[in-house]
């Protein structure tokens, strides 16, 4: 018979990915002098599992490496070998290689066998480097007897008395007629134990090696970029409950509708209210299925920080906070690059060298904190360091060098904002850590594409904090409906500061563009009818409504006919069947079935007429 093993590959790749991540996380957290035996055991088990599965599914490159790894780990957990920083580094590089091989298998690429060989040999070299602590037997790392693939511990002579024995039953009648010689053909692929053992009570003879393992639950894995998602059973259960409620509501409505001439309107209102609640809760519940903890990104940073800090001869302690905060899976995957860049940036530019830190009266070891928290409908991710802070003078100098007109008295916040300009790297020397083409401008663009924004606070010699604000999910946005020329548009609520009917006294004309004086500021006005080429009810802003918008680039007032109301909208792609539309971030379907465009307030900011002297 033939069983197609391909169907199990996806699961194998996923769990191997998890095992690899587990190994990495545990190894990095390991106390070199007194490693937790259970942690060592878990690392061993991870390597062991990859090896087991790779054998069955034919991913031999993985098996080849994990086999040697396993032997080495076995020495460690048996106390035959001492863990060292060097060894951890070695393991980490092996883990990187495993990851590459896994990707190669996953994408159907050719495996780099040369690399596999050299990594396996590297491990063998460590294994045989003669530093094994004597005294403990080495039998545990004994190789696999290749041709001994299964066997039964077969009763050979005990068949007759097996009936007398009733307290243990190793010698099943069916097993005995077929002696070992039968176990077949080729190689001894299985075997029966023929142990005429003591009818031992469980406690009687505990085999020394087989002890109960009280393991901590495995650390949650962080597999990136897979197209499947793991959902907690509680989320599924709550969804099932909600659907159950929906079914009840539906049947109530059915009963109510059976007699259309005699509708109990009061009851109908109640049930419709119930339906509305059901629908909302199901929507929330379904959305939550896409939510995964940010630890999926955060977990990579201990490694990133470790590698970078050692490369740059800096000492950095990383702290992760709020790793369990949940965020849309799509957002999380797209956060990896910008966050990695920011962390690199903090180590490279933020944290000073140990000497500089000591000279400045700071602890030798710098601190970086990455935190996540939910605030209303947004997620805030902050990356703080206790480093040197941004250098105002250097940034201003660089800006002038790049031909940007900047005043000396520019407020700090605006100076910091300059580093998001393209081509801005203030590192004195371009290091291979930061100065590699990808700049902060790309970071900001990536974050804006996710519907978020990024802000910087920084104090000289105290440190800097980069704060990212993101919507909880990509699929739904809280919006304000506005109408112009009979057409409805949605403005994301997060960008709206306030809406108002401006008084004529506060409106000014300057160089052909309208300004609104409010909140002690002059706001340039952007008439939406001009952007959207419609005919408004009133061209005079004093007769219209102004929605005050804040974007990462500037603040402005959007002039519309009227406000339609606040609502949650589901974001639909315009590009799927059409193309990107300037000024629109997407579209949505309104209650009446019509299509409304969701405004892209960031790109609209680019066409705001900024009167020459309007600064601050």
């Amino acid at each position: 018979m033939s069983i197609d093993l391909n169907q199990f590959h996806t699961v194998f790749f996923e769990e191997s990915q998890e095992h690899i991540d587990t190994m990495e996380q545990l190894l990095m957290a390991m106390d070199l002098d007194a490693p937790d035996p259970e942690d060592l055991n878990s690392v061993f088990r991870a390597a062991h599992s990859i090896k087991g599965g790779s054998g069955i599914f034919g991913f031999t490159a993985l098996g080849q490496i994990t086999h040697v790894m396993e032997n080495l780990l076995d020495q460690l957990r048996n106390g035959q070998r001492q863990l060292s920083n060097q060894l951890v580094d070695h393991f980490l590089s092996v883990i990187d290689c495993l990851r590459r091989i896994l990707d190669q298998y996953r994408s159907g690429e050719e495996v780099d066998w040369a690399e596999v060989e050299s990594v396996a040999q590297g491990l063998e070299a460590v294994l045989n480097d003669g530093t094994v602590i004597a005294g403990k037997g080495a039998e545990a790392s004994g190789g696999v007897a290749e041709d001994d693939a299964f066997g039964f511990f077969e009763p050979e002579a005990t068949q007759g008395d097996s009936s007398a024995d009733n307290s243990w039953g190793l010698f099943d009648e069916h097993a005995s007629p077929e002696p070992t010689s039968d176990s077949p053909d080729q190689n001894e692929a299985f075997g029966f134990f023929d142990e005429p053992a003591e009818p031992d009570r469980p406690a009687a003879s505990p085999a020394p090696a087989a002890s109960m393992q009280k393991a901590k639950p495995k650390p949650k894995p962080s597999s990136s970029e897979s197209s499947t998602i793991r959902v907690g059973i509680d989320k599924v259960d709550s969804l099932i409950n909600l659907v159950g409620e929906l079914v009840i509501t539906q049947s109530m409505l059915k009963v109510l509708g059976e007699d259309p001439d005699n509708i109990d309107t009061l009851k109908m209102t109640t049930v419709l209210g119930e339906l509305e609640r059901n629908t909302r809760e199901i929507q929330e519940s379904v959305m939550s299925i896409r939510m995964i903890p940010v630890s999926f990104v955060f977990n990579r940073f201990p490694r990133v920080v470790r590698d970078l800090a050692s490369k740059m001869n800096k000492q950095v302690e990383l702290q992760l906070e709020g790793s369990q905060t949940e965020l849309d899976k799509g957002l999380i995957e797209k956060l990896v690059d910008p966050l990695t860049h920011l962390v690199r940036n903090s180590i490279d530019h933020g944290i000073e060298s140990p000497e500089q830190r000591l000279a400045a009266g700071k602890p030798e070891k710098g601190a970086i904190t990455i935190s996540a928290s939910q605030r209303g409908g947004s997620i805030i991710i902050a990356i703080s360091d206790d480093g040197a802070g941004l250098n105002r003078e250097k940034i201003l100098a660089k800006a002038r060098q790049n031909g940007l007109p900047v005043a000396d008295d520019l407020p700090d916040a605006e100076v910091w904002d300059l580093i998001f300009q393209p081509g801005f790297s203030t590192a004195e020397q371009v290091t291979d850590v930061s100065g590699r083409g990808v700049g902060m401008d790309v970071v900001r663009r990536n974050i804006q594409q996710l519907g978020g924004r990024i802000e910087i606070t920084s104090t000289a010699s105290v440190g800097s904090t980069f704060t990212i604000q993101l919507p909880l999910t990509l699929a739904i946005v809280d919006g304000m409906g506005v109408a112009v020329g009979g057409q409805t548009f949605i403005i994301p609520l997060v960008s709206i500061i306030e809406s108002m009917q401006p008084s004529r006294a506060n409106l000014k004309q300057l160089g052909g563009s309208d300004l609104l004086h409010v909140r002690e500021e002059y706001w340039p006005l952007l008439p939406l009818y001009q952007v959207m080429e419609t005919e408004p009810r009133h061209r005079d802003p004093a007769e219209a409504i102004v929605v005050l918008i804040e974007t990462s680039k500037r603040r402005y007032g959007l002039v519309v006919d009227e406000l339609v109301g606040q609502q949650q909208v589901v974001i639909k792609s315009l590009e799927q069947h059409y193309r990107r539309v300037p000024g629109a971030a997407g579209a949505t379907i309104m209650g009446d079935g019509s299509v409304a465009l969701i405004l892209d307030v960031e790109s609209l900011a680019d066409i705001v007429q900024e009167p020459a002297e309007e600064t601050a």
Binding site: Q487, V531, M532, E533, T534, K572, S573, L574, E575, Q576, H577, Y578, R579, R580, V581, P582, G583, A587, I589, G593, S594, V595, A596, L597
Partner: protein, 175 residues
Amino acid sequence: MSDNQASIETAENQVARTDVREYLTFSLGEEHYALDIMAVKEIRGYEAVTRIANAPDFIKGVINLRGDIVPIVDLRLKFNVGEATYDEFTIVIVIQIHDRMVGIVVDGVSDVISLSREERRPPPEFGVAFDSRFLVGLAKVQDHMVILVNIEALITSQELGLVEVGAQESPDVDS
């Protein structure tokens, strides 16, 4: 022997049969056109669209087609034929090519016709509203000529601007 003979004949028949294709015919002004029926997802009446600013006039806007945001193109405006009026008789053919849908407004939909290879002749070089790039053939149906349109080429063409153009092409005219 005779068995062999028979099977060869069947094979030939099959070749001939698979070569018969079905086309949906439609009219634009005075001209009759036909497109591969496989590309037609549905035919519906014209309904209110949501206008897209800064788009050429022949792109009427977008509609909600069961949750998808689908653009509507008026071929009468694009090719400057017929009269672009919109009423309850205005017809939209929803075309699906690969994963993309687009609705095209035409003057009328007439019939589904089957054409064998022999009936399909080379397209005219000129004299019709469509650029010859978008034509695949010509056929005589009853007493008039029907022009066979390569709808995929038309829909994905730069001229219509429905699809974001890749870097290898010159930038778009309408954005």
